[in-house]
């Protein structure tokens, strides 16, 4: 299974280590962990916990981007599923709540996939529709109010723990393993990459590109719905206006930082999740450092640009020429 952790992950791992080191300097107790009431606490756990929604989103997003698509609607899907989960939580069992919320995500994914795969719309526009309308639908479900609930089952999903690991982190880890096993344990991952690399050639070679595209948008919708349920469970309520707001951008960012090209054809699940963790480690570090959180966006912009430039073929071309010149001189 070399495909799960390819050699090209070095830059991301180094970046994470550097940011962790900076966090350690900023806040000396950053690496402290303690066990309380059967759950681990500490800044590191906090990073994992808060990074969960974006990590889940990036799991779906990375597959969509691998097919040369993009899904702008994940934030809105989070708001929809959170709204559904919160309004059903106190009157229905956890199984019904989860089925309804994830089912909504599946339908949203089907809709996006239908527009892109069957109608042949450009992914940006196709998912823009649900991004705009989705938040309206979520507000329709909550009737514009912030719906709160107290069902212990659903709250446990956001605040509970298994073997000391917070529940959201355990869920994200489970989803990562599940997704990895499905796409890398079979030829599915390869077929998805083929679809993104050259859809026409793949179709001629016998790949069911439409089915692939439909499947990745559905998976993206389900991941987003799960993220929405966890976000709602975390705050014991659903705020249709703010749940998942702008998280689609963070998810795309995580995927790009993880080295997956927006032009499709290649992807890494682990690195995408690592990208989500890098973003969250940065956020937490800025909070701990006492700088105003307004710096967040600036730092994010600088990091994105750096990663982009490093990945740009032109840039590596220039760097390559420089290296060759140096070698020829030596």
């Amino acid at each position: 299974m070399t495909a799960l952790l390819p050699r090209r992950g070095l830059a991301q791992i180094l970046a994470l280590i550097v940011i962790l080191a900076v966090d350690r300097i900023v806040s000396p107790q950053f690496f402290d962990l303690r066990l309380q009431d059967g759950r681990l606490f500490g800044s590191l756990i906090d990073v994992l916990n808060r990074g969960t929604p974006v990590a889940l989103l990036s799991l779906g997003m990375v597959l969509v981007i691998a097919t040369r698509g993009i899904d702008l609607s994940v934030g809105a899907v989070m708001a929809i599923s959170g709204a559904i989960a919160a309004s059903l939580a106190d009157t229905h069992s956890l199984a019904v709540v989860l089925a309804a919320a994830l089912g909504a995500g599946l339908i949203c994914g089907l809709w996006n996939g239908f527009l892109v795969a069957v109608l042949g719309m450009q992914p940006i526009v196709a998912t823009l529709i649900l991004m705009v309308a989705g938040r309206g639908i979520a507000q329709l479900i909550t009737e514009g109010r912030i719906v709160t609930f107290s069902s212990p089952d659903l709250v446990w999903l956001g605040n509970g723990a298994v073997l000391g690991v917070p529940m959201p982190v355990a869920i994200a880890l489970g989803m990562l393993i599940l997704t990895g096993a499905v796409v890398r344990g079979s030829a599915l991952g390869l077929l998805i990459e083929a679809t993104g690399g050259n859809a026409r050639a793949s179709e001629l070679a016998g790949v069911g590109t439409r089915a692939m595209i439909l499947a990745v948008y559905v998976w993206c919708g389900i991941c987003a719905a799960l993220a929405g349920v966890i976000a709602a469970a975390d705050i014991m309520g659903a705020d249709a206006n703010n749940a998942g707001l702008w998280l689609e951008l963070d998810a795309i960012l995580a995927v790009v930082i993880g080295g997956t090209s927006l032009f499709g054809g290649r992807f890494s699940l682990v690195l995408a999740v690592l990208g989500a963790l890098i973003i969250q480690t940065m956020n937490t570090g800025i909070l701990l450092s006492g700088y105003p959180p307004e710096f967040n966006l600036l730092v994010k912009a600088v990091v994105v640009m750096t990663v982009l430039l490093l990945q740009s073929p032109k840039f590596s071309g220039i760097a390559g020429i420089a290296a060759r010149l140096r070698r020829s001189k030596a």
């Binding site: 450009q122 994010k300 912009a301 740009s312």
Partner: protein, 326 residues
């Protein structure tokens, strides 16, 4: 193009929508309401004009909302706190936003990066910079502001054509002339049709890319100034999400997101349709604000599906291309 051009369809939808609204609420068909419609959507019309150029050239600009936000904060602080004369502040911010757009265009061209992600970084950068300047709303009390806000041309029927509405109309007309009558405009279409072909035809692709994003950011800067006139304040959270409204207006106006086709007039009509939905919901009173979003989404879908159908008809004999590029 065979059949109805998309702009005409947009115009028909606007007229039909307006007629429907007027039947239900006769008061809508007055110059007062139309005047307000133009004033309320002045900044959107200006920024959408710039976005039309970007999208026709095959790109996208996600940073415009943040540039508007930054502009309002910068102008407010410059006038109120730093004691800069308003006109000088306007010139400074317009130069700054033009330079910002030019930089984004240069990065997109030189490093061959997707516009989506470069302008996304630009969006974070501009919003972050406006947070750094000030996180609170800064009211603007300069006399210029009250003069401009009070200025209005009387229309028959008691409607007021305000200064910012006039600025918007001038920019829309100017943008339409620039796009449809000049070499620059022709090059924008050429770029959107095919970058490689445009380059072979002798279009300076790099220079054009820089100029197009410069134009978009410059117009976003003007929209920001207009927005500060509209609200008489500068606030770092203003115009969040405007880039989506703008893209929606451009698409509803019949511009193809794949580039190469579209018009400024269509975009203007798209802005008016969005404004009309808002006005209808305000008149109705019982409909909640989220219906605006749902209605916009439905309209977006209808227009894109329609365009898709038109394109499919036009290209029927040609080989079908599976999967669309972003």
């Amino acid at each position: 193009m065979k059949g109805l051009p998309p702009v005409l369809i947009t115009a028909i939808v606007l007229v039909a929508g307006f007629a429907l609204c007027a039947v239900q609420f006769p008061n809508i068909a007055s110059t007062r309401v139309v005047g307000n419609l133009l004033t309320d959507n002045a900044f959107l019309g200006i920024v959408a004009t710039g976005m039309t150029f970007v999208i026709i050239s095959g790109g996208i600009d996600l940073s415009v909302g943040s540039v508007i936000g930054f502009t309002t904060v910068f102008v407010a602080l410059a006038i109120e706190r730093w004691g800069v004369p308003p006109l000088l502040a306007f010139v400074a911010i317009l130069a700054l936003s033009a330079a910002f757009g030019a930089a984004m265009g240069a990065v997109i061209h030189v490093f061959d990066l997707p516009p989506f992600i470069v302008t996304l970084a630009g969006m974070f950068l501009a919003r972050g910079a406006s947070f750094l300047l000030s996180t609170e709303s800064v009211p603007i009390t300069a006399p210029v502001y009250s003069t401009v806000s009070d200025f209005a041309l009387r229309m028959p029927g008691g409607g007021r054509l305000t200064a910012i509405a006039i600025i918007m109309l001038v920019i829309v007309i100017g943008g339409a002339l620039l796009l449809h009558l000049t070499r620059f405009g022709a090059n924008v279409y050429a770029l959107g049709g095919s970058r490689a072909t445009a380059s072979l035809m002798g279009v300076a692709v790099g220079k054009m890319t820089v100029k197009i994003y410069m134009l978009s950011s410059l117009l976003a800067g003007i929209a920001g100034i207009v927005f500060s006139f509209y609200t008489s304040a500068g606030y770092s959270l203003s115009a969040v999400g405007v880039e989506l409204d703008t893209i929606a207006a451009v698409v509803i106006g019949g511009t193809l997101l794949t580039g190469g086709q579209g018009s400024v007039i269509g975009t203007f009509l798209g802005v008016l349709i969005q404004g009309l939905i808002q006005t209808y919901i305000n008149f109705d009173g019982t409909l909640s604000s989220w219906w605006t979003k749902i209605a916009t989404g439905v309209l977006l879908f209808a227009f894109i599906a329609l365009q898709q159908g038109l394109v499919a008809l036009a290209r029927r004999p040609a080989a079908k291309r599976a999967g669309a590029a972003t």
